[in-house]
């Protein structure tokens, strides 16, 4: 046994070992038509040649195992073809290659076979992944393998995982003491599947208990309760996180509007289209990187941040200079004019980029997530967007409160004639402030491109939400927008979990209407004198 382990360890590192030939007769059934034969072939292969099997099985899981006539081959990068039995390159590549397609059932067997082989890898990370994988799919047949792995494993974290798997596999043991130990170990788990395994132990089937031993039954009950506590905790945490994530998205969508509408009082119906400009900049940067810097494609998003800000700000400044500045103090005309601009911008996007949505891919560092608990996974893209919205918020607060421009903006909105009298160039400040609001909307668009569809009409879906956030928070209040966005996000998500998405949407809208009727000034009313009022 020790020898085998040593062999495995060395083999997985060295290629020379993988060149040892496999009996082609073992490989051929992998390409059989029915899954039963294939699964039997996988097991036979692992049994007969554990060290050579791994590259072959890995190729099979990755859709790169193929048959050419009677020979089973592995498809390598760049159209190279290797013989699966000897691992020698075949030149020229044989004709009539047909990939062996696999279905989920075979894929599941492959995954557990590979995980079992990888438990003996020399690399800690590989073993850790394998231990996780093994936990997903345990049965009693794996006990000898788990025993072997446990004997070899030194890392405490991996050991804990393996022990959980071991306990799951030994639940079916005939020895009550073994079962008791297993049930007690499983109480440490926070995997909902384990609870499912334990539940039958506390139930009666007809008149007899499924589990004969009363001590095991009691221990199972205790274990289930402690698992359930952890599950409920993770559930609520998960819900709070999705709420936070929706809140951060609402906030990003609404922050720009909090300046243009909230602070400057311009009812900007083209706000959604400014988001769209930002989102399309992300797409444009992606295309530029794809064409010119394919090596750095993963970082296109960083370049998209300034580009999105500047292009949306530019559109905003043009809007303000050409149209809006002639309409200050005439809200109805502003509303109609900006609505017109919104239609115009949508049509421009449709003409330039086509009416269909464009594809914006998540960079690889935003894919996947951190698994805090087996039933709580926080996706990276959401985490990054929450962080990004906080960063934008801080930057905006700093600009408004610490910079000279921010001081001018506040002065102009509070008392325009007086600000003008002391030498503030009010016209220019208006333009810059509007540009800033538009630019921040552009940043929101860049973030939205990572989770939503990017198309000419995308802004329409956010305009209502954005106004909702700003009005609910109280016009003229940054803090109000923040609380409103978070509140709406968390409230919607808890409601959705309970009523479903369709009803939640209706309920939220109704509640907002009621709220605005009772408290038209929003959550936070601005105290003081507006010069207009």
């Amino acid at each position: 046994m020790h020898k085998l382990r040593l062999l495995l360890g060395i083999c997985l590192l060295s290629i020379s070992c993988a060149q040892a030939a496999i009996d082609p007769g073992l490989l051929r059934p992998l390409a059989a038509d029915d899954s039963d034969t294939r699964i039997a072939a996988i097991l036979a292969l692992v049994e007969a040649a554990p060290e050579e099997a791994q590259p072959v099985l890995q190729a099979m899981a990755g859709d790169s195992l193929a048959v050419a006539g009677e020979r089973v081959v592995v498809l390598g990068a760049g159209g190279r073809v290797f013989d699966a039995a000897s691992n020698r390159e075949l030149t020229p590549p044989p004709a009539g290659i047909e990939t062996i397609g696999i279905n989920n059932r075979v894929r599941r067997e492959l995954a557990s076979a590979l995980a079992a082989l990888r438990l003996f890898s020399a690399e800690r990370e590989v073993r850790w992944q394998a231990a996780q994988e093994v936990n997903q799919n345990v049965d009693a047949k794996m006990l000898p393998l788990l025993d072997r792995a446990l004997a070899a494993e030194k890392d405490p974290k991996i050991r804990a995982r393996l022990q959980l798997a071991h306990a799951q596999a030994s639940l079916g043991s005939t020895d009550a003491a073994v079962r008791l130990a297993a049930v007690k170990t499983l109480g440490e788990s926070s995997d909902p599947r384990v609870r499912q395994l334990l539940l039958p132990l506390t139930e009666k089937q007809g008149d007899t208990w499924v589990e004969a031993d009363s001590a095991v039954r009691a221990a199972a009950g205790t274990s289930i309760r402690s698992i359930e506590q952890r599950l409920a905790w993770a559930d609520n945490l998960g819900r709070a996180f999705t709420g936070l994530s929706l809140g951060s998205i609402l906030l990003l969508a609404a922050l720009g509007l909090a300046i243009t509408y909230g602070v400057m009082g311009v009812i900007n119906m083209a706000h959604g289209e400014l988001l769209m400009v930002g989102a399309y900049s992300a797409w444009a940067m992606q295309s530029v990187f794809r064409a010119h810097l394919p090596g750095a494609l993963d970082w296109y998003l960083l370049a998209a941040i300034p580009v999105g800000f500047l292009s949306a700000a530019l559109v905003g400044v043009l809007m303000e200079r050409i149209v809006i500045r002639h309409l200050y103090g005439r809200p109805l005309e502003t509303l109609l004019a900006t609505w017109g601009i919104s239609l115009f911008l949508m049509q421009v996007a449709r003409t330039l980029f086509g009416a269909q949505n464009v594809e914006v891919a998540n960079p690889s560092w935003m894919a996947g997530g951190i698994e805090l608990l087996p039933n709580l996974m926080l996706p990276w893209n959401r985490i990054i967007i929450v962080a990004f919205s906080i960063a934008v918020l801080v930057a905006m607060w700093a600009i408004l409160n610490l910079s000279r421009l921010g001081m001018f903006v506040r002065a102009v909105t509070q008392n325009r004639p007086m600000a003008g009298c002391v030498g503030v160039p009010t016209g220019r400040v208006d333009t810059l402030a509007f540009g800033l609001g538009a630019g921040i909307a552009g940043l929101g668009g860049v973030a939205l491109s990572q989770i939503a569809n990017v198309g000419p009409d995308m802004g329409q879906g956010y305009i209502v939400d954005s106004f909702m956030v700003v009005v609910l928070g109280g016009v003229g209040q940054l803090a109000g927008a923040v609380w409103a966005a978070l509140g709406l996000g968390v409230f919607t998500k808890f409601l959705e979990g309970w009523t479903g998405a369709v009803v939640a949407k209706i309920v939220v809208l109704v509640l907002i209407i009621v709220f605005i009727q009772k408290r038209p000034q929003g959550l936070f009313a601005l105290k003081g004198r507006f010069v207009e009022s």
């Binding site: 279905n103 989920n104 894929r107 949505n357 464009v358 894919a367 996947g368 996974m377 959401r382 979990g497």
Partner: protein, 422 residues
Amino acid sequence: MVRRNFMKTISAVAVTAAFGLNSFAALAAETIKVGVLHSLSGTMAISETALKETVLMAIDEINSKGGVLGRKLEPVVVDPASNWPLFAEKARQLLSKDKVAVVFGCWTSVSRKSVLPVFKELNGLLFYPVQYEGEELEYNVFYTGAAPNQQAIPAVEYLMSKDGGEAKRFVLLGTDYVYPRTTNKILRAFLKSKGVADADIMEEYTPFGHSDYQTIIAKIKKFSSEGKKTAVVSTINGDSNVPFYKELGNAGIKATDVPVVAFSVGEEELRGVDTKPLVGHLASWNYFMSLKNPQNEKFTKAYRAWAVKQKLPNADKAVTNDPMEATYIGINMWKQAVEKAKSTDVDKVIAAMAGQSFKAPSGFTIKMDERNHHLHKPVFIGEIKADGQFNVVWRTPGPVRAQPWSPFIPGNEQRKDQPEGR
């Protein structure tokens, strides 16, 4: 003076009008107008734009071979913009103003339902190329997509089979409108007949264009961890699929644990998604681009060449899918029927459609049923591969006859398997 001038103008106008009309009539005699009624903007554009391109490609193909009855086809393309009432308006415009001989169009059932009264009133002819919920049989419509027994039922049967993972619990997830609601009603009745309890079925709907699937994914995770093997049946339509699959990938729901089978997701919809985390999730269709046969090779090549010629976005990666194939079958069968009837008259063409057959890209010779206006189609179930294509894991031995009136909905036994004629 004024009066004379007026008379002059009038006669000038009359003369021009007469000439205009004449030349118009001459032109009309030369071409046959074909209406294309697909959303080119809005939430459904992701799916429907490719169908418009397919119609145009097929028309181009037919014209290059001499047209129909010696006359060229002339496409009239309109954009109903994913706006259901606008579909009816545009259909009326096509039929009464443009006088088209036939219309190829619609994707969602709600758009089809909205144009139906117009087609009935003006006795138009509609070819509907998308899988749908059944429960409808109209004289003026030919359904070239799948009925539930040609897509949904086989898919669920597969999920319950050993190779499909022996699912015992089901999440029925859809967009909130008539197709998903009816399909799920049929599936619920079907599952009940197979002994699945109500507690083991979860039904969830989202609005059109929904983009935040966090809660739903969390719910699916929870539901699937509460015991027996779970599978998800998705009837989500339009561009919501992109955020749904993105979230699914990020949440780490693997097809080996909880497989998702989709009825409205094909090669085209997956173009906007990173498919690596989605490997193994399923779709059920009557055609996949990855099928290997001479007809399909010709079809995919022709479409890619068309996409490059039209400079469509991402033309080098252009894909074909099931509704495109259904559109292609539809227009070719219509051509055959017109040639058989020797007229484009709607009633004559409808009569000539019965029993038409066509060697389709699916590799089978597809027949239009003699009675029920539906095609006999083969069913394929495919798993998503890392390159966005499908690997066929299950197929019917041959074409299956459509049952527009599902036997799983009570009261359908008395329904006639033939539309009421005019």
